[in-house]
């Protein structure tokens, strides 16, 4: 075992990690030398190190797919600056016919029956582009397959009228919305219709109508255009009783996204301020607004297998925990790759899923391992961050063995997460009940 110290910017504590097993401990600065020299912490860890290595290996290499991101259309009514779906596809693309969509879900059902234990439903997340532009096919598929899958829809909310909302909520479909600013001018800086119209108020209307529904969330994409507005944005989400949000760094896979890329330090500062604000609102109101992507970093540290998002792990979840289906049947490791034809691993209607998962296109993504390339291979936090995202690394930085766009931002998040753990506050940032079914596998607290 090789322990590495990590300065977390805390007045009293420093972290030590064994990156190979994702082991960590927080050590009071005045006891660091003594702790590293040996004693109860190292003895306890030595006993468990092999178990932790096995656990991490299972999570990184032995999962089987249990979800699919289904794009029922190439089309979208919005022209967001940073979208990872190419513009021509969104403007002029094809819908998936209703019978094709049904046939696809039937094929996928047969595949998932081979990977999932009986009684566990696979997840289908309708994604895009804008799934509600192909509403009839979408709703017919949900009704036809409601016993076979757990469904989610990610939507820009512009087509989420009362009937659509009643349909989805009535069937327990989880709904994700997108909003980038607390005011229309901020949202409009990145999210407008092809005709240049604002969609901000439509999203607010959907949020109002979703109030009280427990399975909805909202994504804000963090760019150079909204960094200084993340605190009021979190206030808006909390006031509208969003149960969960994500504050995602813009993925710089396609060139358009890079035009609004924020700098790491500025992003970290604004992001942490927004997360702190969500915490202050929780303390004041008793109601949580979980920032899911940050909660996931906390979970990667506290309980690696309890992660819910699979971007911040290496290899990422693309092509192994989930995959993505394009409207023509094309299969990609993740939605993020749908604009990159060389990452198409095969076609659902022609190829076997096993062959697709083993295809060179998929293997490129599932083989991206932070233990094997610099600078990640010597980084103390590589298995808390996972060096997202392979699509971004490949397109922006020139290869799979490169870092993504926001290495410094991830480091800052991990340091902040460890400070919260040192201060005993981490639970405030996680979903209530996150630890149901979770057991303690290591616990050392030395006076």
């Amino acid at each position: 075992m090789t322990l590495q110290p990590l300065d977390i910017g805390h007045a009293d504590y420093v972290a030590i990690t064994d990156p190979a097993t994702a082991f960590w401990a927080l050590v009071r600065k005045d006891r660091l030398a003594e702790t590293l020299a040996g004693g109860p912490l190292l003895d306890a860890y030595r006993e468990r190190a092999a178990d932790f290595a096995r656990e991490l290996h299972g999570l990184r290499f032995e999962l089987k797919p249990s979800a699919v991101y289904v794009n029922p259309t190439e089309r979208c009514n919005l022209d967001c600056t940073y979208c990872y779906i190419p513009r021509d596809m969104r403007r002029d693309g094809e819908h998936m016919a209703a019978d094709r969509l049904l046939a696809a879900l039937e094929r996928l059902k047969a595949y998932f029956a081979t990977t999932l234990p009986a009684g566990r439903k696979p997840r289908v997340i309708f994604h895009g582009a804008e799934p509600l532009t192909n509403r009839e096919a979408l709703f017919a598929a949900i009704d036809a397959c409601r016993d076979d899958y757990t469904f989610g829809v990610q939507t820009n909310a512009t087509l989420l009228d009362d009937a659509a909302l009643a349909f989805l909520t009535g069937r327990g479909v989880s709904i994700g919305l997108s909003l980038d600013g607390p005011t229309a001018d901020v949202t409009d800086a990145t999210r407008l219709s092809f005709g240049g119209k604002s969609v901000h108020d439509k999203v607010l209307s959907a949020m109002d109508r979703l109030r009280g529904y427990d399975a909805w969330s909202v994504i804000a994409t963090c760019t150079a255009k909204n960094l200084d507005q993340l605190v009021p944005l979190v206030e808006l989400f909390h006031a509208r009783e969003a149960p969960t949000c994500m504050l995602n760094a813009v993925r710089c896979t396609l060139p358009g996204a890079r035009t609004v890329k924020p700098a790491d330090a500025a992003l970290a500062h604004a992001f942490i301020a927004a997360v702190e604000r969500s915490h202050a609102l929780f303390r004041a109101s008793g109601r949580k607004l979980v920032v899911a992507n940050f909660a996931n970093i906390l979970l990667a540290i506290l309980a690696p297998t309890a992660r819910r998002l699979m971007c911040d792990i290496s290899p990422c979840g693309g092509g192994r925990a989930f995959f993505a289906l394009a409207p023509d049947g094309g299969l990609f490791p993740c939605s993020e790759f749908i604009g990159l034809p060389q990452f198409e691993g095969g076609n659902l209607f022609r190829d076997s899923m096993e062959d697709v998962l083993a295809s060179p296109a998929f293997a490129k993504v599932t083989g991206r391992d932070v233990d094997k390339f610099a600078p990640c291979s010597t980084c103390a936090i590589r298995h808390f961050c996972g060096s997202p995202c392979p699509a971004e690394a490949h397109e922006m930085n020139g290869g799979m063995e490169k870092i993504g766009a926001f290495c410094g931002f991830y480091e800052e998040q991990v340091r902040y997460a460890l400070r919260l753990i040192a201060d005993g506050k981490a639970g405030d940032f996680l979903w209530d009940g996150w630890d149901a079914g979770v057991e303690t596998s290591f616990s050392v607290n030395l006076p």
Partner: protein
């Protein structure tokens, strides 16, 4: 390891009600069956606390 900026100090306010003696070492790990499938463009909110 650090190939980026220095950590930002003072982001977290110290806990208001800290125990008189801070532990010298804090370390823990928890585990469960893995079933995460979210990606940065979507999180599925289907885990009910009482599952």
């Amino acid at each position: 390891m650090s190939h980026t900026a220095q950590p930002q100090q003072t982001q977290t306010t110290p806990a208001t009600s800290q125990p008189t003696a801070q532990p010298a070492v804090i370390a823990s790990r928890r585990r469960c069956d893995a079933d995460g499938v979210g990606l940065s463009h979507y999180i599925l909110m289907d885990r009910k606390p009482a599952r």
